[in-house]
Amino acid sequence: MATLSIKGVRKSFGSVEVLHNIDLELEDGGFLVLLGPSGCGKSTLLSIIAGLEPSSGGDVVIGDRTVNDVHPKDRNIAMVFQSYALYPTMSVRRNIGFGLEMRRVDTSSREDAIARAADLLQISHLLDRKPGQLSGGQRQRVAMGRAIVRNPDLFLFDEPLSNLDAKLRVEMRTEIKRLHDRLGTSVVYVTHDQVEAMTLGTKVAVMKGGVIQQLADPQTIYEKPANMFVAGFIGSPTMNFLTGTLEQHNGGLALHHGSAVLALTDIEPGAEAFVGKQVVAGIRPETFSKGEGPSSLTGTVDVVEPTGPDTMVVLDVGGQMISARLGSRERPHPGEPMTLNVDTSALNLFDPDTGNRI
């Protein structure tokens, strides 16, 4: 187990800088998720941590050791790849034990370690097969076995679940969480799936264009996104953005959008400076409830999507589409008028010019 610090790491390919001055800290035993869309630099950052790619500047510190010039094999890390990267010519047993074999661990301790890892992952019956004879989920387990058998300081996962079908993905996600709870090893996990990020991470770094947009625990990321990109990226359906003017209202502040007035509570101190100006309000779909209230929006029902536990309603409010997550019993009809009350304590305000949180 070890801490991980990334200090001012940069990476350029030719004249293109893909990582700009990345700073990260991961506590001992923590689970850091690097989350972002394709091409945001998250996998490159993981490769730099692994030592597979040299950085163009900055330091990577694992434990108390700066590892910038340390070969991947000497960093005491283990990595699970998106394609699993199992050696196709070797049996599962040798795949799992390969790292120990390379470190000249004697045969009997190696066999013990393989048996323990296989037992933990329930793949003992597969040890003599070749990777080609395994299903996707089994390969995934073998890849994890190969990682845990060495008892590394740090686990690196590069989108390990993206090749699995939906059901298996949920199962393996739980498995990874269980494994992390049991082993307590620090993890860096790359994904573009926000559900994985929210469920697994103790810390989530949302990345875009080679810059960390926000580094915080999942709850903070969800409830208090640092900017409109993070707000829009996390959550499904995505957060609604409603543009309006901030005004004084009954001694407090309120957002005016057309004829609607949303009285704001729990306002951040900086919001006063935006009185009289345009702001963007970020409203999560689940903060709506049907009916009149102190802060309500009225519009026309556009689309109704029953999902089973919830009913998703798209409401046309003065030309702006708003998604709301309502109870499963709500079954409005398209075209009919509807009024929704907003829980404004969960509302986020953003500066429309910079996109940053107010």
Partner: protein, 281 residues
């Protein structure tokens, strides 16, 4: 309607088979004819009326060739030259192909093109400078010298072919191996080469066959029995006043035997190697 369709299919099938059989015949007939000539009596070979199928069979051409003409030495020379060529290509070409496949260094594309350009010139153009170089370094008329000359034009083929096989091996496997504790070179030997072994075998067989059958360089760069290869030796049997058809045919058959045996042994792996990555596995 259905009848017409099946009828046209039949005509099409017959047509295809006729063409295929014709092409196969063109390919195989010379080999069969050489074999038949090699087991005919001398007086049955050149006759007023062509004898297609020999009525009298003899193996005296094989015996004479082996015992009198020094043919075993030629075959051994060819084997040495071919082995050394394949060995040099394997040792240098494998590492070169790996570098081209994995590293993006300055001048990489130009260097690969330069490899190809060597193959674009006619072989004759290369012989004169090669001859001078070989004479100066004292490698003229030696098996090793001939192997080096072969390497000069077979190595590009080897590197280009093998690079394709290395490209097909996923890079993540090497990353995994490097994290597991191997060096870059260790990852190549332990992971990439075992994956690309069929490709390596196919490439080595291609180069081996090319070296085994090469004639022009061998003719120019060898002068004595000590290093002469079988294609040259066979050609030199044709004298001013004699043309030993039987022995020539026997020599031809003996020479293609190693190639046939080699193909039979490795053809499964070769086909797997050549078609690797062509379709989703």
């Amino acid at each position: 309607m259905a009848f017409a369709r099946s009828r046209s299919k039949l005509v099409w099938d017959i047509g295809s088979y006729v063409v295929l059989i014709l092409l196969a015949f063109i390919c195989i007939a010379p080999i069969i004819w050489t074999f038949l000539t090699s087991i005919k009596l001398e007086e049955d070979i050149v006759t007023r009326n062509m004898i297609y199928i020999p009525t009298r069979i003899t193996f005296e051409h094989y015996v004479n060739l082996w015992n009198q003409s020094g043919y075993p030495v030629l075959v051994i020379n060819s084997m040495i030259t071919t082995s050394v060529t394949v060995l040099i290509c394997m040792l240098t070409g494998t590492i070169a192909a790996y570098s081209f496949s994995r590293f993006h260094f300055r001048g990489r594309t130009q260097l690969m093109l330069a490899y190809l350009i060597v193959r674009m010139f006619p072989a004759v153009l290369m012989i004169v400078p090669l001859f001078i170089v070989m004479r100066q370094v004292g490698l003229l008329d030696s098996s090793v010298g001939l192997a080096v000359a072969y390497t000069s034009f077979l190595l590009p083929l080897f590197v280009w072919m093998l690079k394709g096989f290395f490209d097909a091996a996923p890079k993540e496997l090497e990353s995994a191996a490097r994290i597991d504790g191997t060096t870059r070179l260790g990852a190549m030997f332990r992971i990439v080469i075992p994956i690309a072994r069929n490709g390596l075998l196919a490439t080595a067989v291609f180069v081996g066959i090319a070296a085994w059958n090469e004639y022009l360089f061998a003719l120019m760069l060898t002068t004595s029995q000590g290093s002469r290869t079988w294609p040259v030796g066979l050609q030199l049997m044709v004298g001013e006043f004699q043309l030993p058809w039987g022995m020539l045919a026997a020599g031809g058959i003996i020479s293609i035997l190693p190639v046939i045996v080699l193909f039979a042994l490795v053809q499964r792996a070769m086909v797997a190697g050549i078609t690797a990555g062509a379709v989703k596995g």
